[in-house]
């Protein structure tokens, strides 16, 4: 079944996340990060930062930090068991730190298929805002296999 292209332009239910130093500490440990500004609040303060620095790919984690991270694909009737992550990109505008509340405001910007529908692509673009100021653009392409 091909996904109905009427969903292009659909708003993703918005959500907000405040990254915590606790979670960023585990993210740093998992990814082998040794620079303490990414996991140690005292080191971040010494470096003049208001909290530990949110690393470049953590914006994806926060975008997924909701009860149903693929709610938009469920709305389209996609089988999440056939989903793959195709592409991920970010445009950065401002550094973000633990303790700063962020609002995630997303929209479906494209739906297309390849190989006669064997692979379908759903493109989502999310603006990440801190008190109304754009801090990051998150661009995700999910692939649905037939």
């Amino acid at each position: 079944m091909l996904i109905d292209k009427k969903h292009i332009g659909m708003k993703v239910p918005p959500h907000s996340v405040t990254p915590t130093a606790w979670q960023l500490k585990w993210f740093a440990k998992a990814t082998g990060e040794s620079n303490p500004i990414y996991f140690d609040e005292a080191a971040a303060a010494e470096a003049g930062l208001p909290g530990v620095l949110v690393p470049p790919t953590f914006f994806f984690c926060m975008d997924m930090d909701k009860d149903h991270p693929f709610d938009y694909l469920e709305t389209m009737g996609c089988d999440l068991g056939k989903m793959l992550h195709g592409e991920q990109s970010f445009v950065y505008h401002k550094p973000v730190h633990s303790g700063e509340k962020l609002d995630f405001d997303g929209v479906i910007t494209d739906i297309y298929d390849k190989k006669n529908g064997a692979l379908q692509f759903v493109v989502k673009d999310v603006k990440v805002l801190r008190q109304g100021e754009l801090v990051c653009d998150v661009h995700s392409v999910m692939v649905i296999r037939a």
Partner: protein, 139 residues
């Protein structure tokens, strides 16, 4: 951290690379906690076997996080303007990931001197897991 000098960089120059420890089940458990992604494909051997998959495998975004670390070891994070990845292969438990990058373009973007980098995360046999690019400002 001092930034690399724009004028001293040439297309083709490599940035400092690294090879990770083997990706273990513990790595995947730690990444699940850090990222919030507890999908059973990455954690639960019983679940993946029930789906006909021999073993759990790494989160794709773990590899992108390693490439992010490659960038932030080279420049302060605030210098990164954009960073994108295509996922080309699955990383299996036990693989070490070799993270490399090179300058592919020198450009001016929004009035800033920038370099475009091509980044690769591959296993030790050279199979690319992720191909990425990033634009970094050096002014």
């Amino acid at each position: 951290m001092t930034k690399p000098n724009f004028d001293a960089l040439n297309v083709g120059d490599a940035i400092p690379s690294f090879t990770t420890e083997p990706v273990s089940r513990l790595t995947l458990a730690l990444y699940a906690t850090g990222s919030g992604d507890h999908h059973p494909l990455h954690l639960d051997q019983d679940y993946v076997r029930s789906k006909g998959i021999p073993d759990v495998f790494a989160h794709g975004m773990l590899g992108m996080a390693y490439l992010g670390r490659l960038l932030t070891q080279w420049v302060p994070q605030a210098a990164i303007r954009s960073f994108g990845v295509r996922f080309t292969a699955i990383t299996q438990v036990g693989e070490r990931l070799v993270c490399t990058g090179k300058v592919v373009e020198k450009l001016e973007q929004a009035g800033e001197k920038c370099v475009r980098l091509e980044l690769t995360c591959a296993n030790e046999q050279g199979e690319a897991k992720h191909k990425a690019d990033a634009v970094v400002a050096l002014t």
